[in-house]
C-alpha cells in the first residue's frame, strides 16, 4: 500500500494531474474505492458484480480498506452494511439483478434509518427464466425505495459517481444511501480509458458526529423504534409520526439535488438540446442513442440527446423545459417495462411526444439502427 494523504474532495475530483488507465468497469470501482477512504466493505458474489467486490477484497489485502468479509447472502450483506453504517463507519457494497431483489427489504430500511451507504448495482435481468444478461429492470423496483439513484453510462462515470457518492450521501441534510447503477457486462466487463486521481490522494473520513440521527444505541431511535416501533401503536399520533418520518426521507433525497449539481455538474448532460427530436435516456442506452444521433445528424436530421445521470432525484424541471421545445422524444431502454419513458411522461406537459422505445431486454443488444428507425419515422 502506498502512503495516502487526505485532501479536499475537490482535489480528488478535479486533480491537476490525472492518470489514464485502460480498465474494466469493475476495475474502475476498485480505483474509486482506493481513493474513497472506505472503512468497511462487505461482499457476496453475483454475476456481473462479483469481480468488483473481489477487487474490493484485494484493496483490503493491500491495506486500503480497514475491514472486509463475505456475508451469508445478499440479505445478510445488506443487513451487515446497515449495522456498520449505524455504528458510524463509511461502508460500501455492490450487488445486481436477483441479488438486488433478494436484499430488497433493506434498501428502504437504509433510507428510513438515514444511513449514508454507497452501493453499486451492476444491473442484469431478473428471473424468470433465468438470465445473467444486461437489463435495467431492477432499477424500476428501486425507484420509490427512498435511495438516491445515479446511473453511470461508462466506466469513467462509474469511477466518478462512486467517488462522489460518498460526499453526497454523507451531507447532514441528505444522509441517505446512494445507489450507483451501471449496466452489467456492457460497463463492468469491457475496458475503457478512465482518468483517475493520483493514488496518493484519499477523501476525508466520514464524520458520524454530524449525522442527523444518533449513532447506534438500543435506547435511542432508530434502534429503539425498531424494537418498540410506533407503527405498532394504533393511534393518529403514531401514524402521523410515521408519515412525517417518510416525508423527511423524501425531503432528504430532494435536498441532494444541489450536491449532485455541485459534484456531478448537473443531473443531466445534453447535446444539441434545442433539436426537434430528442433522445432521452440513461446508462448505456444513451451510448446507443448517441451513435444514432450522430448518424441522423450526418443525414441532416435535427436530433439531440439528453443523458439523465440522476434517476432519484429525477431532473423534473430540466426535462420539462427541454421537452417544451421538442416535437418528438425517443426513449430507448434496456428493459421490458419502459420505466424511463414512464418517468419522462410523468413530468412533461405533452405526453404524446414520447415514443417509449426502442426497448430490448433479456440480454439483447440495441443496434443504433433501431433508434435511427424511430428517428426516421418521426422525421416523416
Amino acid at each position: 500500500m502506498i502512503t495516502q494523504k487526505i485532501v479536499d474532495p475537490e482535489k480528488i475530483y478535479d486533480p491537476s494531474e490525472k492518470e489514464s488507465l485502460f480498465i474494466t468497469g469493475s476495475e474502475a470501482v476498485k480505483e474509486a474505492l482506493r481513493r474513497a477512504n472506505v472503512d468497511m466493505a462487505i461482499a457476496y458474489p453475483i454475476t456481473p458484480q462479483s469481480e468488483s467486490m473481489h477487487l474490493a477484497g484485494d484493496l483490503f489485502a493491500e491495506g486500503y480498506i480497514k475491514e472486509y468479509f463475505r456475508g451469508e447472502n445478499e440479505f445478510a450483506v445488506m443487513s451487515s452494511v446497515a449495522g456498520a453504517a449505524m455504528a458510524g463507519v463509511r461502508v460500501f457494497t455492490a450487488t445486481g439483478g436477483p441479488g438486488t431483489l433478494r436484499a430488497f427489504e433493506l434498501f428502504p430500511t437504509w433510507a428510513g434509518a438515514r444511513l449514508p451507504i454507497v452501493c453499486s448495482f451492476m444491473t442484469r435481468g431478473i428471473n424468470s427464466p433465468l438470465t445473467i444478461q444486461p437489463d435495467t429492470i431492477e432499477m424500476a423496483c428501486l425507484l420509490d425505495s427512498g435511495i438516491i439513484m445515479l446511473h453511470a453510462e461508462t466506466a469513467q462515470d462509474l469511477y466518478d459517481m462512486i467517488l462522489r457518492a460518498f460526499m453526497i450521501a454523507e451531507k447532514t441534510d441528505v444522509h441517505i444511501p446512494v445507489g450507483v447503477f451501471c449496466d452489467g457486462f456492457f460497463v463492468t466487463h469491457t475496458r475503457d480509458t478512465v482518468e483517475v486521481a493520483p493514488a496518493e490522494m484519499k477523501l476525508p473520513p466520514y464524520d458520524a458526529y454530524s449525522s442527523p440521527v444518533p449513532a447506534m444505541d438500543m435506547e435511542n431511535a432508530p434502534f429503539r423504534h425498531m424494537r418498540d416501533p410506533f407503527v405498532m401503536k394504533s393511534n393518529f399520533i403514531s401514524y402521523a409520526t410515521h408519515a412525517s418520518w417518510q416525508q423527511e426521507v423524501m425531503a432528504a433525497c430532494e435536498r441532494s439535488r444541489k450536491y449532485i449539481q455541485q459534484y456531478l455538474g448537473s443531473l443531466i448532460e445534453t447535446e444539441h438540446p434545442d433539436s426537434e427530436i430528442l433522445i432521452i435516456s440513461s446508462g448505456t442506452a444513451i451510448s446507443q442513442g448517441r451513435e444514432a444521433m450522430k448518424s441522423a445528424r450526418a443525414m441532416g436530421l435535427d436530433v439531440g440527446l439528453v443523458k439523465i445521470k440522476s434517476i432519484r432525484p429525477f431532473p423534473e424541471e430540466e426535462i420539462r423545459l427541454l421537452a417544451r421545445n421538442a416535437k418528438h422524444i425517443i426513449v430507448p431502454e434496456f428493459n421490458r417495462t419502459g420505466w424511463m419513458a414512464r418517468e419522462i411522461k410523468s413530468v412533461i406537459e405533452d405526453t404524446t411526444k414520447v415514443i417509449a422505445g426502442p426497448r430490448v431486454f433479456g440480454g439483447m443488444t440495441m443496434p443504433p439502427e433501431s433508434i435511427l428507425d424511430e428517428i426516421r419515422r418521426c422525421s416523416k
Binding site: 402521523a240 416525508q247 423527511e248
Partner: protein, 193 residues
C-alpha cells in the same frame, strides 16, 4: 407544477402538511438563513428571532440531546449561552432528552418528544418555540408535526445545514451566533423600556 410559492407559515396547516423541501424550499447557503422559506442574511434572521421571542406570550426553548449532554468539548459553553439567551428573552425551557416515543403518555409539563411535539405545545399554550441541539432528522419531523397541528411559531438554531420546516432557520450556529442573538435581544429590551 407549483403555481404559487410555498411559504413556511405557522399552522395549523392541516391533516398532513408537506415537507417544505418537497414544496421547493431549498436549504439556505452558508452565511444565510431561512425566514418563512425565504433566504435572508443571517443577521436579518437573528433580528427576526429576537422579534419573535420578545413578542411571544409564552416562548419556550426545546433543547435536545446534542446540547443537554456534555458529549464533546464546547457543548457546556454552548448550553450556558443558550440558557443566557432564554433568560434574556424570558423564555422557559422544556427539554427533549431523547427521541423515544413516550407511551402510554408523555408528561407535557416536563418534556417534549419529536414524535408527538404537539402534545407539549397544546398543554403549555406555547406560541413560539425554539429548537436547539436536536438531531436534524428528529427536528425536521417535529417541526413539520408542529406546523401541521398547532399555531406555534417555530425557530431552529442548527449547528448543521438548517431546517426548511422551521419558520426561522439558522444554520451553522455556534457559540458566537448564540451570543450575538442574546445581545440583540438585550438591546431590543433596552429600547423597549
Amino acid at each position: 407544477m407549483l403555481t404559487k410559492r410555498y411559504e413556511v407559515q405557522k399552522g395549523p396547516e392541516g391533516y398532513l402538511p408537506p415537507a417544505a423541501a418537497m414544496m421547493g424550499i431549498v436549504p439556505s447557503e452558508p452565511g444565510t438563513s431561512l425566514v418563512e422559506g425565504q433566504m435572508v442574511l443571517q443577521e436579518t434572521a437573528m433580528e427576526k428571532v429576537a422579534d419573535a421571542l420578545l413578542q411571544a406570550k409564552n416562548p419556550v426553548f426545546f433543547p435536545g440531546p446534542l446540547i443537554l449532554w456534555a458529549w464533546k468539548e464546547g457543548v457546556e459553553e454552548k448550553a450556558q449561552a443558550i440558557k443566557e439567551l432564554a433568560d434574556a428573552a424570558g423564555a422557559k425551557i422544556i427539554p427533549m432528552p431523547d427521541y423515544r416515543p413516550k407511551y402510554p403518555m408523555i408528561n407535557p409539563e416536563i418534556e417534549i418528544n419529536p414524535n408527538h411535539p404537539n402534545l407539549t405545545i397544546w398543554h403549555n399554550n406555547i406560541d413560539v418555540c425554539l429548537f436547539v441541539g436536536v438531531h436534524c432528522h428528529y427536528a425536521n419531523i417535529a417541526l413539520k408535526l408542529i406546523r401541521g397541528g398547532t399555531d406555534c411559531y417555530t425557530i431552529a438554531l442548527c449547528a448543521e445545514a438548517g431546517h426548511e420546516d422551521a419558520m426561522i432557520s439558522l444554520r451553522d450556529v455556534g457559540l458566537d451566533q448564540i451570543r450575538q442573538i442574546t445581545e440583540i435581544v438585550k438591546k431590543r429590551k433596552e429600547t423597549q423600556k
